[in-house]
């Protein structure tokens, strides 16, 4: 049973349900989505809850329709969200490019699964490149938040809407099938009313006193298009300055640094504990925002540690950003699992031990 504690409500919930509940609490006006495993509970929870609370839900005919309904509703000045899983998120890329270009706020949740193609319904982190590098065509970025617990599935929705509206930019919550399906204790935030003031750009009608506005991403004049590109870039630079979020664990004296996001960060944290118990000075740097990426933190720690082990549930995607950030100051090794396979803390530990041993051998040999 739910109990009240410090003004917050504690419940045992699935990640997908906690996220959906939080979207209602965050004052979402409209949700558009299409069923796909492993995230259909978001659509189902919202359709069950919303009529007696606030907002509306529409089951679209496809993910392409859903993202375009998002485009329309965001343009009409509503706080909007959609969710899907990897194949469906691929279908939304065209819309996301246009929404980013038209500078409209929205939250997109990817409860990702293994690919490419239809792949599997098991969890994966194979959509890192797509999420962080734009995903669709043209020069743009989404702000990407990577939760690692049911608690963060809930909390990041609030952050997501706040950031989307602050920057008038789509925000992606990059989760995975395990976080969506697993049940954990979650402290739900109270109903939150981030004021959604009438925006000058929103399509809400044009009285004589109001300037006309056409929401568009088309700018035939090259100079104008370049100017808009510069404006978007300035926005992304601003995000890099002030919105970077990360978590450090036992990094003060770390010699071996683990890096991982989302579910892998939790696995790495356990591996750090196991390694410390064996006397290995391991630590963890976990990016919470994947864009903007915690580049400075990796650069700093890269100078401190002897080696980095990057752990991901993919073929090696974030590792490219880690390597760019450390810029050759230390070697970056990789442990990856694909196809829906989740690495265990023990296998991460085994790799850390092997790395520690080779470091020790080199040191004593040299």
């Amino acid at each position: 049973m739910a109990q009240k504690k410090l003004g917050r409500e504690i419940k045992l919930m699935k990640g997908n349900e906690a996220l959906a509940e939080s979207a209602i609490r965050a004052g979402m006006h409209a949700y558009f989505g299409y069923p796909i495993t492993p995230q259909s509970e978001i659509l189902e929870y919202l359709t069950e809850q919303i009529p007696s609370r606030h907002g509306l839900v529409l089951q679209a005919e496809s993910e392409v329709a859903a993202i375009n309904m998002i485009y329309g509703a965001a343009g009409a000045g509503a706080r909007v969200m959609t969710s899907s899983s990897s194949p469906g998120i691929s279908l939304m890329q065209e819309g996301l490019s246009y929404i980013a270009a038209a500078e409209l706020p929205c939250v997109v949740v990817n409860v990702s699964r293994g690919g490419p193609g239809l792949g599997t319904i098991q969890p994966s982190q194979g959509d890192y490149f797509q999420a962080t590098k734009g995903g669709g065509h043209g020069d743009y970025h989404l702000i990407v938040l990577a939760p690692a617990s049911v608690q963060e599935m809930s909390d990041f929705i609030f952050d997501g809407f706040r950031l989307a509206e602050k920057y008038r930019n789509p925000v992606m919550i990059l989760s995975d099938g395990a976080l969506g399906q697993m049940m954990e204790k979650v402290e739900l935030q109270e109903e939150w009313s981030l004021p959604y003031t009438e925006n000058p750009w929103a399509t809400t009608g044009k009285p004589a006193s109001r300037e006309r506005n056409i929401i568009t991403s088309l700018h035939i004049e090259v100079e104008l298009m370049q100017e808009i590109n510069h404006r978007l870039l300035a926005k992304y630079e601003q995000m890099k300055e002030v919105e970077v979020r990360f978590e450090e664990y036992m990094t003060n004296d770390a010699e071996i640094l683990l890096s991982g996001f989302g579910l892998c960060a939790r696995i790495c944290q356990k591996a750090v504990d196991l390694a410390r118990a064996k006397g290995i000075k391991a630590g963890l740097l976990r990016p919470i925002t994947l864009f903007p990426f915690p580049k400075k933190q990796f650069a700093q720690l890269g100078k401190q540690v002897k080696v980095i082990l990057d752990v991901e549930m993919n073929a090696g995607q974030m590792i490219e950003d880690v390597r760019l950030a450390v810029n050759g100051t230390c070697p970056v090794e990789f442990l990856g699992r694909m196809g829906g396979v989740i690495p265990s803390p023990e296998e991460v530990l085994a790799k850390v031990e092997a790395m520690a041993e080779s470091l020790f051998t080199v040191e004593s040999g040299g």
Binding site: P35, T37, T47, Q59, S62
Partner: protein, 355 residues
């Protein structure tokens, strides 16, 4: 090395080399374990397809099954033919690609109400519009089964499902109406629980040249059980189903005493036992009617109160197919302009030598 810009499929594909073989249903079974829920209507559809396939005079190696994503889309795994388990909604587009790349193939699509009519609606109407020679078997169970029970574009308004717990507020598609309006040249309806009829419909679709769509009412016993009970149960079927037969009056009912007459463009239910109307007053079905209006009226019966559900061929008309027309156009252009020569083209016009 002349004509190296003309691409033709390898001779071994789509050409029957050896003497015709007499197949049995078993020859079309891949032997893979069938993974639908026990009791699913899909089993019957698979059995009818495997039973009919030997009779339709298509060499086995020329048959291709293409699907999208959904429960029905597992179909290609179970047929011992070439196949595609494609992309959600895109089966009609993938099948169009298969057909146009090798028109000798007999291309069949296994799809569901979500796959074909929701996300794939656009591809479906355009396949029909082109009259691409595809056989589309729509497994209509009026629910999303694979994602565990959300309402689909053929779910009735007000339906309570996991994604419509307070009742769906969408109006459903009538798939036969959509196919007719989009220009499909063979449009039929059958049921998983009527094996002989389903076999007959499949055989007729196989003979047809052009886009053929068979809507098959299919029971999803897990998420939408009994959706078609009034059509399949013995004591209810006669009163609720009218079989469409070419040249025959629309007559139904347990005692064959009910009929439908057409008063202008308005269909009317008549009771023949009252003596006011006789069989000669009834609407006589013409499946080759070039005017689609009457077939369209038939397709509306499912939403008209007290009207029986028509099963059978609504429309079968002859029209040139896209795949044949494109071949013909190529031949025509080659006849007037000659066969192209890529090398000659590259060396024509402004060419120069770099000294």
């Amino acid at each position: 090395m002349e004509n190296n810009n003309v691409i033709t499929p390898p001779d071994s594909i789509g050409t029957r080399v050896e003497q015709p073989v007499k197949y049995t249903a078993k020859d079309f079974s891949s032997g893979l374990e069938v993974r639908w829920c026990p009791g699913c209507g899909d089993y019957s559809i698979l059995a009818q397809v495997q039973r009919t396939a030997p009779e339709i005079n298509v060499p086995k190696e020329n048959m291709v099954w293409v699907s999208g994503i959904g429960c029905s889309s597992r179909f290609p795994y179970y047929m011992d033919t070439f196949g595609f388990h494609g992309i959600h909604g895109r089966a009609a587009a993938i099948a169009s690609g298969v057909k146009i790349a090798n028109p000798k193939l007999s291309v069949w699509v296994a799809t569901g109400d979500g796959d074909l009519l929701s996300i794939g609606g656009n591809h479906f109407i355009h396949a029909c519009r082109r009259n691409m020679d595809l056989k589309i078997m729509l497994f209509n169970n009026r629910i999303y089964g694979l994602t565990k029970g959300q309402y689909s574009p053929t779910s009735e308004k007000g339906k309570k499902t996991k994604s419509s717990p307070h009742g769906s507020i969408d109006f459903p598609f009538k798939p036969v109406s959509v196919a007719l309006a989009s220009g499909a040249t063979f449009v039929a309806r059958s049921m998983d629980r009527d094996p002989k009829h389903l076999q007959a419909m499949m055989a007729r679709a196989a003979e047809h040249k052009g886009t053929a769509m068979i809507e098959i009412y299919q029971n999803c016993n897990i998420f939408n059980d009994g959706a078609f009970l009034h059509l399949t149960e013995k004591e209810l079927k006669d009163e609720n189903v009218v079989y469409l037969e070419h040249g025959k009056p629309l007559l139904y009912g347990h005692n064959k005493n009910k009929g439908i007459r057409l008063n202008g463009l308005t269909p009317e239910l008549v009771d023949l036992s009252k003596g006011e109307f006789s069989v000669s007053d009834l609407w006589v079905h013409d499946e080759h009617d070039i005017n689609p209006a009457r077939a369209f009226i038939l397709s509306q019966f499912i939403e008209m109160e007290h009207f029986p559900t028509p099963l059978g061929i609504f429309s079968q008309i002859q029209k040139s197919t896209y795949d044949a027309d494109v071949e013909e156009q190529i031949a025509e252009v080659q006849k007037t302009k000659g066969i192209g020569n890529l090398k000659k083209l590259l060396y024509s016009g402004n060419t120069w030598k770099i000294e």
